[in-house]
């Protein structure tokens, strides 16, 4: 790069010309106590709850507790640069984060500052992190599907754009995997994704960003990262900041998806802050407003009316349970706020059924309206057959003599379970999902051994790609008619013929 001295001096001259001498008026207070990411400040009588305050060394904080004689602030930054007696200034602003298209493909901290080493983010748009959720009149029921590309979810627990669907399960059961698959599957679907990592290891986040990048998904994704080594205050604001970044796209009439991974750690961080601020602890030592903490966040997910542009923000919060206890405080809270949950079971995970979704305990309360018609046409029996299979399976362990119908029901169930398995980072387009479920439902797989099923599936997909891509593209647009069904039977038979 060539640098011309004249150019620089003209820039500087220009700056000097445009500089206005002004008077800085600030309300100030004094730090009484500081430590553990919390500061108590004396003075600042007019400060508002949630207002940003400025500590020395350009460290920002947020006023949370307004008490009679002092205020309690959380500190976004290193407390070791702040000491007792330091001056604190009011800023008069509510905490804001940068938003906009420039954020896409970037990894940022909860204050919107880049941490991926790719340079500054050039955006002049800002939104406050705490925004009121939209009212009833501004919303409409969800109606478009949000395809996750995961067979058991798109078929049995469909998610609509604007919905809040909880992913819940023990540690290491593939919760994050489902979220990442969903992000990868949004490629080319005009859905902007925001992934908020709360309290995870930095190495895990780095791996995840790498996975997104390799799958070409980073370009339409914002990763908001508050890692385990960040202060609880950073963890606390991260989901709200991410939500504002997503809302920007929703308000423009686009579709956005946000993942909070995970809200258990968020609640724990908030508990830490609350205890340090000496708010009274309640059940499991969480403060009284821990429900509101998550309800106000998840209420911000919404589908706007057409008048407001029809944009949507879908939320997939993740909750980690301990020993499959979904009746603990935080899980029950979040279950009651969301529009359904995807329950992952470690028993299934370790018996090789991955994704380890338990269809019996999973529901989607509103997504049914959004499911595409073609899918609806083929899944009809699926849930029922699986439930029946689960019952029979337990029963069949005792007796050896089973009648023919029971045996065939068991056989069908085994194959259904087999086709619902899916590899990680390998989301399937919906037409392929429909086909393989149709094939199993119609009994084409019953005559084959279990270990053949994966091969048949692979063969089916190659055939669809090579010969029938036009047909499948048409098929998913409408309800499945008898005519389409006939054609589908034909294709199934063609696949089967390869294996006989």
């Amino acid at each position: 790069m060539n640098i011309h001295p004249e150019e620089i001096s003209s820039i500087i001259r220009n700056k000097i010309d445009n500089f206005k001498f002004d008077i800085d008026v600030n309300e100030t207070g004094k730090i009484v106590q500081v430590g553990d990411g919390i500061a108590r400040v004396y003075g600042l009588e007019h400060v508002m709850a949630g207002e940003m305050v400025l500590f020395p060394n350009d460290i920002y904080g947020m006023a949370l507790n307004l008490e009679q004689e002092n205020i309690g602030c959380i500190v976004f930054g290193d407390c070791k640069y702040i000491k007792e007696g330091d001056i604190v200034k009011r800023t008069g602003r509510i905490l804001e984060v940068p938003v906009g298209e420039a954020m896409l493909g970037r990894v940022v901290d909860p204050l919107g500052q880049p941490i991926d080493g790719k340079g500054d983010i050039k955006t002049d748009k800002y939104l406050p992190i705490e925004r009121k959720a939209l009212g009833v009149i501004d919303r409409q029921p969800v109606k478009e599907p949000l395809q996750t590309g995961i067979k058991p979810i798109d078929s049995m627990i469909p998610i609509g754009r604007g919905q809040r669907e909880l992913i819940i399960g023990d540690r290491q059961t593939g919760k994050t995997a489902i979220a990442i698959d969903t992000i990868i599957n949004q490629k080319g679907k005009d859905v902007v994704c925001v992934y908020v990592a709360i309290g995870q290891k930095r190495s895990t986040i780095a791996k995840l960003v790498d996975t997104l990048d390799k799958n070409g998904a980073l370009a339409y994704t914002i990763v908001v990262c508050a890692s385990a080594s960040d202060t609880p205050s950073m963890l606390y604001v991260a989901p709200y900041a991410g939500c504002s970044m997503g809302e920007y796209f929703r308000d423009k009439g686009q579709h956005a998806l946000i993942i909070y991974d995970d809200l258990s750690k968020h609640a724990a961080a908030y508990r830490e802050i609350s205890l340090l601020l000496r708010r009274p602890p309640g059940r499991e030592a969480y403060p009284g407003d821990v429900f509101y903490l998550h309800s106000r966040l998840l209420e911000r997910a919404s589908k706007l009316t057409d008048k407001l542009g029809g944009g949507s923000l879908t939320a997939l919060p993740i909750i980690e349970t301990k020993a499959e206890d979904i009746s603990a405080y935080i899980p029950t809270n979040v279950i009651s706020i969301t529009d359904g949950q995807i329950y992952l079971s470690s028993r299934l995970f370790y018996s090789g059924i991955r994704p380890a979704i338990n269809p019996g305990l999973s529901v989607s309360r509103v997504g049914g309206n959004a499911q595409i018609k073609a899918m609806k046409g083929v899944v009809g029996q699926l849930r029922l057959d699986l439930a029946q299979y689960n019952e029979l399976e337990a029963f069949s362990k005792f007796g050896s003599d089973l009648d023919k119908t029971t045996r065939s029901q068991l056989r069908r169930g085994e194959r259904l379970i087999e086709i619902l398995k899916q590899d990680i980072y390998n989301p399937l387009p919906v037409e392929k999902q429909i086909f393989i479920i149709f094939m199993a439902n119609e009994g084409y797989l019953d005559e084959f051994e279990l270990n053949k099923v994966a091969l048949i599936e692979e063969d089916l997909f190659t055939l669809l790609d090579s010969k029938y891509s036009e047909f499948t593209a048409e098929m998913i647009k409408y309800k499945i008619t008898d005519q389409t069904k006939e054609k589908m039977h034909e294709i199934c038979k063609e696949v089967i013929a390869h294996f006989n």
């Binding site: 700056k15 008077i23 800085d24 004094k30 009484v32 001056i87």
Partner: protein
Amino acid sequence: MKDIIVAKRYALSVLYNIGEDNLAAFIDEVKYIKAVLDQNTELYNLLKSKIVSIHDKLEFFETIVNDLEHKEIWLSFFLVLMPKQRGDILQQILDEIIKNAYLSKNAKAVKLTLAYDHDEDTILKIAKSIEKQIGYKIIYQVSIDKSIIGGFIAKSEDFCIDASVLGNLNKFVNQSITDKV
């Protein structure tokens, strides 16, 4: 620093016993005691000391306040303060008394820093403009600091007005660094 909060409580309760008419005289007394303590650090150290008996401390204190109009109030205040081992925040309490007395008259004490000495008129003008900004009357104390180059800085307990050349230059530098060229 937590002491400020405690000091404020003591200050308010002392002021509670002073009538509106006596306030000005009382503040003069406070300033006088402050000056005495400032000048006689040994005396103040004795008052703060946890070894010296309360009786002895009271004697010392009495010598200071003996000629004052509000002697009774001072002595009983001291009798409350000492058994609680709060001698160490005496200075802060005195500061708080002054501050809260001003506040009750809708005024604030302000430290006004100028780059060089101005005439009375100019300073009065500056004071007026500050009063307009903060909505309080101000009782100011001028100090000179050449390093601010020009303009003024007004500092009080709970606000800070920076209209100095130095502050503006700093701001200019900061802006130029953060602005993308």
